[in-house]
Symmetry: D3
Subunit: 305 residues, 6 copies
């Protein structure tokens, strides 16, 4: 976030000091943003972005890593960049742990060691994550008539980027790391228009085509071999609220999508309903109740004037 300074000096802003003072007052007046009364170190979005890009290069070195890799140097590349990514991740995990529900954690002198151990566990999961991602890539290649090679799927499909981010974010979520998974999900959302909550459970051979506007909610569960198109929502129908008006957190409120379901563009599926195995949901369909396996739903025709 470095700003390029003007090379040509400009006249001073006379009210600079007073604006700075008023901004300080504003910060102090909204002290609830602070954590328990003092400033808390925060994960860095740009660092997390670099970490995920580096991990993508670790998983698919010739596609997301570097152009000069071959059998003689590829493991050196993977090892060196993985080491750097894990080291940076460990620090971000430490900061994220300050956001855990356990209030005593912040002053825990073992916090760096806990972050390090979680990062070690995460590293162990990477080969399995890669295996699932390979199934996703093949599903995309088979599922899009416009796809001409797996390399094209990896390099040119927003769905590939979204699913790589999701599987990494979800692994951190399962390890109990707060905040970071959401940050990774939002980084993917910004790049692809695909918004997958990191807590969502998604099976292998998953493919999202085009993708802009897709939303997959926190408690959604998706089976094997599911295919989604742009602007599909797997959302919540209603939100129970607390007495203070805040919406209740954590209730299972998003759909269950069984294996081999296809959901076409713009379909809206809301609530803790189940779409049975092998169903097809047509474009723009609005669905708020469960449907049995093998269902085939489509929208009524529009009238033309």
């Amino acid at each position: 976030m470095n700003i390029n300074r003007n090379t040509d000096p400009s006249p001073p802003f006379q009210n600079l000091a007073s604006v700075v003072a008023r901004l300080r007052e504003s910060r102090e007046g909204t002290h609830k943003i602070r954590h328990r009364g003092h400033i808390r170190e925060l994960p860095s979005r740009s660092t997390v972005k670099q970490i995920v890009e580096t991990l993508a290069g670790v998983l698919f070195p010739t596609h997301y890593g570097r152009a000069d890799l071959h059998d003689a140097n590829i493991d050196f590349f993977v090892g060196d960049t993985l080491s750097a990514a894990l080291s940076a991740l460990s620090e971000q995990v430490r900061r994220a742990l300050l956001f855990s529900a356990n209030e005593d954690l912040e002053s825990d002198p073992d916090l760096p060691a806990k972050a390090h151990a979680l990062t070690e566990q995460f590293a162990e999961m990477l080969p399995d994550i890669r295996a699932v991602l390979v199934s996703d890539l093949h599903a995309a290649y088979q599922g899009d008539p416009a796809a001409t090679s797996i390399s094209e799927v990896l390099l040119c499909y927003p769905g590939s980027l979204a699913v790589i981010h999701h599987r990494l974010a979800h692994a951190l979520y399962r390890l109990g790391v707060p905040l970071l998974p959401r940050l990774i999900a939002d980084i993917a959302h910004s790049a692809t228009g695909i918004d997958i909550h990191p807590a969502a459970t998604i099976g292998g051979s998953f493919f999202i085509d085009h993708g802009t506007g897709v939303v997959i909610g926190e408690t959604a569960i998706i089976g094997q071999g599911v295919r989604l198109y742009q602007a599909v929502t797997l959302g919540a129908k209603r939100f129970p609220s607390e007495p203070d008006g805040t919406l209740t957190k954590g209730v299972a409120r998003h759909p269950i999508v069984e294996d081999d379901v296809v959901i076409y563009a713009g379909a809206t599926v809301l609530g803790r309903i189940t779409i049975g195995k092998g169903s097809t949901i047509g474009g723009n369909v609005w669905l708020t109740h469960s449907v049995p396996p093998g269902s085939n739903l489509s929208q009524a025709q529009m009238t033309s004037s």
Copy 2:
């Protein structure tokens, strides 16, 4: 926009000079893009992007500024980066003023001073902008059951980014600065998929969830405590056109949304209609007429086959 030059020299392109000449002809043949016959200095998108990111760090230093801030150095950071941002902004405002309707402005020797004065006024507005943004963040925290902290809302929600950009762009719009507000809005649109025209009037405690595909038009007016979901359109129903076929500019043609309205995903609200206070508009609803306070609209069910 620096391109990395090939490290390995390649053979020359023999038609280079002729392509350059033909491009010059093309530029000269389309002289209407030029301003009154000569080249006009333009605001720089990348500089404006840096300015807005820096201002976000000025407003929320620990979230968008730097990781090493504490009570002893935070005001130094705020003052130094605010100074740099205002200085850079003043130059961009000067260039933008060349696009104002007042044709004599371009040769006005006081243009830099006018730009500087507008930037001073803008700086004075920052503490109030921050106060409204804090209300927006609390609205998001209360309005999303998946949100676990205000920090998460600030770091991971595209709606936060969009509303920060909008409130800065809108302040410049109100000061009469041309072009820059639109540029800021488009920068936010590219990052979030949320397209808010900088002229739109939006009250406090505003929250957009997910956000991809949201469009809020130029003359829209939104009250306090409104919540929108992805793919909501607050658009125009029809565009009156001039005799030459150009659409007429500046007519009030977008909805008025009163306080405490919720509009769910994919709803389309068109024309200068009013949605009464406290109404709920269901997902995918298509609405082209006003509704009274407390209305509750939902889409008809789809038929399944």
Copy 3:
């Protein structure tokens, strides 16, 4: 994709070598991603991004090039950056040609010369591409009541960015360059939310407003003077599949949109149908059959509760 190394040394990750080894196993187990058994050089997304940005500056130097241009130096800028862009493009074309269907190409010693010749041909097309883009910009200015100048259209409209990328990608597609056109299309998709397949044929004076969620399929054909709004889909209705379940590639399966058609936000147009000249398709309309010239379709009203 350089990661900033931790400045503060962290403890080692003991399982680093084993994770690296398991990732190698995973890569070798999925050897189908490799090309004919060995590693194949891939185009670089970041380089292609730089090339397209540089070409945008070549086409519109004062808007996408640099702020310091005037009559005395503009051709030097155009010639120098065009030369760099073509040289970089030639190398990317060479890598992309390895993905062509012709299997003997990879070991062809003339591959660099072929890439160079294709790049020369592409350069010759740039002045004509610029002419069409100018028609697009005027269509946008005339078609959006909120647009105040052509410069605003060039700098602040995602549709401008999308159409510049498309016309460059489509030129490469017509020259038979594999993969690169898709990469360029996805770069534009990520920045704008507009997903245009590079094979789609699009006439002049084309304008997409807002644009998030627009999808234009591979075999779509669009005439002169067409205007689209956000979330419009020009898609395929169904995909015939091969005996092995893979969807059949290359069949004409997307709409033909004739001259002067307007399609409003959220409309879904599917299949090899024709929308006749001068028709208007209303927002959220779902259309799967051809309509004659001059048609005017709108969605049925929603019922309010």
Copy 4:
């Protein structure tokens, strides 16, 4: 001079504000460093360094410019980078003019125009500067038995770098630009260990071998075809001082070296003396009186113990 911020937050420095205040006091107590009581814009060393490197690329494009140049694009490169260098130089000249003896200049509204005119004049001198530099390069190639090509002389000889900087600095000196010539000379001094005052007059076919420790004073005059080795000093013997103890400025006090003189390593030549045409001065010689043309001086032998 951007410092990489700590990624790992550190504890605050409690005395920060007091140190800042004491430094302000120190600055205000030494107000004589300020110019006439207020802060004066200063040339930027890093910008001037970039300008000179760019001009070196303009003069010798294939050696100091870029690797991808050929007949079809070389003039585009030269024109584009020369334009950028002159534009940046004009701003630095403007700042430097504030240091001229003429006290009224600072508030002169025509200062930018004066700087621009001087820069135009400087640009006109570049082709002649290049011609002299070519004579210098040939002198180096002929004068060093270890030199194998002119390219080696240009790329690998500190003397080449020093003389390029000097001839550019001297041109600015002759145009009456204050401060900048000294800055350029010191940039060369830091890179090469060769310290040539920009006011020194140096004829063509000049060659300094090795060069570390060479000092050539302000009023030195050097003829054609002169060759110097490392640690040669062309200095002043004594400095007359003003009544206040400050040394008197501007007096002719350095040697005149006529054509075709060779001065070997470590020789010290002091005062306004003349070394006659074609003389050879041996290594480590200490010389404070004039010598006639064709002289051949060498140091007495050391005694061994």
Copy 5:
């Protein structure tokens, strides 16, 4: 030290793994370079270089800081960059303390706190360091007839850079920080050719002109108002050695130079001798015995052949 990767893939180096293995063997065979058997974190030269440049900007903001400073923003700049520099310095001090003679320090859990406390002390010394540096600048202005302003002395004199580095390095040396002072001295040496050991004691109003080749030894003591020219050595005459042949460390073995001494270019002063107040030592003089105050030494004339 990031290397730009080849954009054009090259063939693999088959012996890569064996060279890596042999280098590991070589490292393990020379384990004495390691510290007590394991790898020790080292200060970073590039980080220390940034820290010193930042501190120079803190001390002289308008000359070494930024061009856009004025009364309204200068303290914000000083505070913000000083904070960053101290934070980075504290980490480098921590690493340097691992090199202290006290072997238990490395595992001391209070090491970061000790580094932080030393850095606080260093910060307190900065205003006094600035005051001495101002005296040095005035001495240079008065001592060089070619100097035209204090700004020229600050921007264009290698002696200014050397003395700023020395005074900062010496402050750290006095605080007992190992290694870092030497690193700072060598950074200055590389930029200026002036080699001052950080332990040397140097009074105010000190000026080195030209400077290339100056060497000032570890135990040298220099009074007020001393002036040196290029290639002056204040060195040791002989080095007593330990029984194992290693030279004995830490003995006082360099000259004492009293107030107001001038030493001209190339003079060599060796051993623990004293040059009395106000003496003048001529160019190239070789001096190994003390001289009384007011002495005036010059070299014998060379004979000419």
Copy 6:
């Protein structure tokens, strides 16, 4: 060499095109700088600088590589950066081979393969080079009473940098690579003030203290355990010249320095003479004849006035 463009547009330079044209004329008039009539690709100084810095990190990873290395990741770092350095070096070697005496080489289609093979051979030499460098570091530690650790010698001694560069440059020289060795030597010269011709033969345990102004000529031969101080010259006494006045290339004309010789600061040793084993040459001594083993030379005392 990218120049930062002015952010503030400046008026055009009207004579730009004519200066560009005159510079082209100047280039064409000095066609002898071109190679056999056309432009020849040149090694890149900045790339070679990166390569050498990377190789220094390969040889001494914890000192010149990165701060985050430990037993688990150090070989990954070494392998990855070595691979990148060799790949970049191979391209630079290819360009350098165009400067070989063999005129047919330039059009040799096997040139890239030859460059690759030479680079492979160079890589094989690295472990042995490292071993000799370790002996140099120990010699420095033992030879300087101010040295407190081997790490200090590696990080803070210009002599270490110079000898690392020399040993790499000399290895390329022995493989017959033209031009590159000189380029590496000049890079070291610029950073350290130490000028060692890459053809000079230098035995192990070599140490140069302070170093500014040291010059070691092309045909010099230096034994084991030699120690030099600043401003020592091992030069040629006279240069025989060709009939055309060009100095004759390649004749043995520099000193032979046998094992265990010490040469103090400023000594000048000229011609193909031999300094016998174990001799000591005093400061500023001028020596042009051979001396037997065990000699002890010192300069006569200066007279004081």
